[in-house]
């Protein structure tokens, strides 16, 4: 449905997108995951015709968008990272206006707008001005505006950034429903959990390049047979790991914080002997929890970038809220 080859873009001599290749199949939900400045939004802007590529080709539903960016615009909807509807218009007026941009007739657009307002839980706010909406409501209405013309492809830029947890949950459910309804979706996010929960395939994007792209299953397979146990102690565990490694040579130990040890193994980990040995050395174990292998560990392993680091960067740039 979307086919990108060698897409390149620079700003003031700095390479923002460095020759990426990307394919999104019909009905697929693909995630572009990466930190701030990775080139995700620039990629989306080029795909939608808001930025001109320096090199490369873009095809949406077989239409060459590089030559004529306008040619495929009727096929897709765009939800930008900023809720950019008209603050002076009501929710209903915003949606009917957006529908009219795609040539929908008066009766059809009003009916469609009312339906979406109900579906998106905004029926009661239909006649309130958009400027007075909460962030979560704004985001939901912006998504509704993006799909008002029933697009076959939807581009979502950071759909849950800057909104509260409850609204983020609602937005994710809306995205799932759209995906179930057959819409092809390409979303960008810096929330690893979001990509993991929503996407069929994920592309890791760092410094303008796609470093990995695969299905969630394939991405997780290298870590799927790894058993991870996290032990939290009441006392510092400094100097404990060399001795534990000697006693349990089949286990891999990593001190995460002063009071936290992460244990990894290819086999199931026997918790009892491990706790006994630690406590015999004067550290009280407060908690032992099993962690399932996650996309986060894969992302960190491949890119060297930690999830917390990405969240902090985004929050510094004013996009709080997010996935949980």
């Amino acid at each position: 449905m979307i086919e990108v080859r060698g897409l390149t873009k620079s700003f003031d001599g700095v390479r923002a997108v460095a020759g990426i290749d990307l394919t999104v199949d019909r009905g697929e939900l693909m995630g572009l995951l990466g930190p701030n400045g990775a080139g995700k939004t620039t990629t989306l802007n080029m795909l939608t015709g808001l930025a001109r590529p320096e090199a490369g080709t873009i095809r949406v539903a077989g239409i060459d968008c590089t030559r004529d960016p306008k040619a495929a615009q009727h096929l897709f909807g765009v939800v930008p990272d900023d809720s950019n509807l008209y603050p002076e218009l009501t929710g209903l007026d915003n949606l009917t206006f957006c529908a009219s941009l795609y040539g929908m007739g008066r009766a059809e657009r009003t009916e469609r707008a009312r339906l979406l307002l109900e579906e998106f839980g905004l029926g009661d706010a239909a006649h309130r001005k958009f400027g007075g909406y909460s962030r979560g409501m704004k985001r939901r209405l912006t998504i509704a505006a993006g799909i008002i013309h029933r697009p076959a492809v939807l581009f979502l830029d950071e759909p849950t950034t800057g909104i509260d947890v409850a609204s983020a949950r609602q937005v994710r459910q809306l995205v799932r429903d759209l995906h179930r309804g057959g819409t092809t979706i390409l979303l960008t996010t810096h929330y690893i959990e979001e990509a993991e929960r929503l996407c069929d395939r994920v592309a890791f994007m760092v410094e303008g390049r796609i470093v990995t792209v695969d299905t969630l299953e394939n991405l997780l397979s290298p870590v799927s047979d790894t058993h991870v146990l996290v032990l939290v102690t009441a006392d510092p565990t400094t100097g404990l790991t060399p001795e534990l490694e000697r006693l349990f040579p089949h286990l891999r130990f990593e001190v995460v914080g002063a009071r936290e040890i992460r244990v990894e193994s290819r086999q199931p980990i026997a918790v009892g002997p491990l706790i006994r040995e630690i406590e015999e050395r004067g550290a009280t174990v407060m908690e032992a929890r099993r962690e399932r292998p996650s996309l986060e560990s894969v992302f960190v392993r491949i890119t060297g970038i930690h999830a917390d680091q990405m969240k902090r960067e985004k929050e510094r740039k004013g996009g709080g809220g997010g996935a949980s």
Partner: protein, 245 residues
């Protein structure tokens, strides 16, 4: 048909949302009205001078009425990123920009009617050629709107658009022969008058409103058309180069 629906909708939304905003009211309505009042109420010249000042006042009303609109409908929306929504709509940039300017053109024509109506009410106006007058007002409105558009797409902030507009508007009042003939300007300034669209607009308005004109009406029509086309093309070029970079 779909493009027409989108165009009408953009125009209607702009008129409903922006046209009664404070900057538009002050620059687009109050200021031309004040000018009209100032010239019509001026003392010592009698009603016979109405015929002489009317073309200039109409030109000022159209110029200020149109150029003030674009700062809001284009620059404000670009700043708030809602303009991106329009750029993503499946209509050509040419039609989109026409939709964004059509309301201002109509507003400019309506603004021109205010001084004409006042002058007719006061009396002492005769010899108006209504057909050419409508043509002259429409072309003046189109050229002024596209001047406003060019300014609006060349800046980033609304206040810059307003300030930059004044940089053109106020000198044009004096350089374009609105209230005294271009021939009375210092020789060194006269060539400058003929590279400004309002000179042709004012002369054409004088011809159609029963006053004495200097240039051939056909030439003024052609020059205004050319200015309009150049400014529109320049604006599109600016949008493509700066906003879809």
């Amino acid at each position: 048909m779909k493009a027409l629906t989108a165009m009408c909708s953009i125009m209607a939304k702009d008129m409903r949302t922006y046209y009664l905003k404070p900057p538009n009211i002050s620059w687009g309505i109050i200021f031309p009205l004040a000018w009209t009042g100032m010239f019509f109420v001026k003392t010592g010249t009698g009603l016979e001078s109405l015929q002489g000042v009317l073309p200039g006042v109409v030109a000022v009303a159209v110029l200020f009425g149109t150029t003030s609109m674009l700062a809001v409908t284009v620059t404000f929306e670009k700043k708030g990123r809602s303009f991106e929504r329009l750029l993503l709509a499946p209509i050509s940039l040419e039609l989109l920009m026409l939709a964004k300017t059509l309301g201002a053109i109509i507003f400019g024509i309506a603004n021109a009617l205010v001084p004409v109506a006042i002058a007719l009410g006061i009396g002492g106006i005769e010899g108006i050629a209504w057909g050419p007058a409508l043509g002259a007002v429409t072309l003046t409105s189109i050229a002024s709107t596209f001047l406003g558009l060019f300014i609006a797409v060349s800046v980033s902030e609304v206040f810059e658009a307003q300030t930059f507009s004044n940089f053109f508007r106020f000198p044009m009042i004096f350089l374009c022969g609105l209230f005294f003939p271009v021939s009375q300007l210092p020789l060194v300034l006269q060539p400058l008058s003929y590279v400004l669209p309002l000179t042709y607009a004012a002369d054409l308005l004088r011809y159609s409103l029963g006053s004495e004109n200097v240039l051939a009406p056909g030439l003024s029509f052609a020059m205004l058309g050319m200015f309009g086309a150049l400014l529109f093309a320049g604006s599109l070029h600016c949008v493509r180069r700066r906003w879809i970079a």
